[in-house]
Amino acid sequence: MPFVHLSGNGDFDHVRLLGVAVRAIAETALAPSDAAQLEIAVVEACNNIVEHAYANTKGIITVDIFLTDQKFVVNLRDTGKAMVDAHQIKDSTALDFDIDNLDDLPEGGFGMFLMDTIVDERKYFSENGINTLTLTKYIQP
């Protein structure tokens, strides 16, 4: 089972580089449009690590990719602040806005929603100071 390990500093410069690398690897197994969407999911996850887990402190983002005939799995790890209650953060409210009401339009808060829309599974756990987010995309046979 192919397995590639990537890592870079937890800042937006490196998120870009990790994003394009994951997309290129995904293109070897997924349709180009699915690989492009996976880049969005991975970039959103990395942005959250930079903004919320490391919150302007330094740290490393680790991205492990596991590739089988059935799934494309991206494992993201950080050593920053853990998410308080990952399961409580729902995707349901992000899109709950009135498109005709300018004041109501969201300027953020799309990250989790996008991940959940793009990938088939999202799992998070935190142990011994290491936070692991696993995004799994099924591969159509």
């Binding site: 937006f12 410069d13 998120v15 870009r16 994003g19 449009s33 492009a36 969407q37 880049e39 969005i40 970039v43 959103e44 942005n47 930079v50 903004e51 992000a94 899109l95 806005f97 498109i99 300018l102 004041d103 339009l105 969201p106 300027e107 953020g108 799309f110 990250g111 929603f113 996008l114 829309t117 793009i118």
Partner: protein
Amino acid sequence: MAILTTENRANATLVTMTEKRLDAKIAVAFKEEMAAIINAGATLLVLDLSNVGFVDSSGLGAIVTSLKLLGRKGDLLIAGVKSDVMTMFTLTRMDRVFQLFPTADDAVKSLEGK
């Protein structure tokens, strides 16, 4: 280094994004440059994204911020959205908030007489 260039086209201000990515690295600069353009008095804006191959939620949020800053007194049309970027607009329902045009010319034309 400016990430946006502007050009007067009929009664519109054509704002062209020069970078290939509108993401968290550049979202703040984007908002600042858009604010400068809006604060200088532009009200009918066409944002050309035809150079852009990737937009994340920070980038999309920055466009929404600009729309809000412009307020009801103006218009912010978006042109040249590539298919991968369009996905970002449709997934977030922002394709229904913004008027999207194939090319900058189409968008400029739709503003004529406004």
